[in-house]
């Protein structure tokens, strides 16, 4: 499966990239495990996540073609 991953704000700067493609030999993976696969460590505290542009949780399952986003707590308004 292939998923598109986006990073925003402070996380985007720390990662040094805004987007990446992840190719995995599985049919699905949780948002939290995808982070571990990409970065080799546990997701940081207070991480917010979205799948296909909707709010999600670390145990939300991701499938082929999905769009995943990782970002810090929001500060709009």
């Amino acid at each position: 499966m292939t998923v598109t991953v986006h990073y925003f704000a402070r996380l985007r700067e720390e990662m040094g990239r805004a987007d990446e493609q992840a190719d995995l030999p599985t049919e699905s993976i949780s948002v939290g495990d995808l982070w571990r696969h990409l970065h080799g460590d546990a997701p940081p505290e207070r991480l917010m996540v979205a799948v296909n542009q909707e709010q999600a949780a670390l145990d939300t399952l991701v499938r082929d073609g999905d769009e995943v986003a990782y970002f810090p707590p929001v500060t709009g308004g």
Binding site: A9, Q53, T75, G76, G77
Partner: protein, 145 residues
């Protein structure tokens, strides 16, 4: 219901006046409006500019979801949410939430609810530019505001 993002300075009061023309005058007993602007200070530091990052697509969807949920909870006649993105200067409008209803409590409560949910759920991130030229990400909303 309207959700609008602006990459340049916008006049919130002109938007309110425009939106109000679409609401039957005889029915709109109450309007509640919140306008948030950029301050030139935060946490005891002078702030000279702000960059507002967002998630194109998701930001609009989240705002539309928040407004739709308010419309299902309160009997609203109209609702307008506008938010700035990109580079912002002190004094510029950052956010506008306007709600219309037949009665004051629905208008006021819906306006307040939309604003608070926007601040905690909609994907926007502020990066401040300080007087010494350095930048920093704003890590949390101001308590109680």
């Amino acid at each position: 219901m309207a959700v609008e993002l602006y990459s340049d300075d916008f006049d919130p009061w002109a938007l309110v006046a425009r939106a109000e023309r679409d609401i039957p005058a005889e029915a709109r007993g109450a309007a509640s409006v919140f306008v948030g602007r950029m301050r030139d200070f935060n946490e005891d530091d002078t702030v000279t500019g702000l960059f507002l990052e967002h998630y194109p697509g998701m930001t609009e969807r989240e705002l539309e979801r928040i407004v739709a949920e308010a419309e299902s909870r309160w009997p609203l006649l109209g609702c307008l949410v506008a938010h700035r993105v990109g580079d912002v200067r002190p004094g510029d409008a950052l956010v506008l939430v306007a709600t219309w209803s037949a009665h004051r409590i629905a208008a006021r409560d819906a306006c307040s609810s939309i604003l608070e949910r926007l601040k905690h759920e909609a994907p926007f991130w502020k990066r401040e530019r300080l007087a010494d030229g350095s930048d920093r990400w704003v890590e949390k909303n101001t308590p109680g505001s």
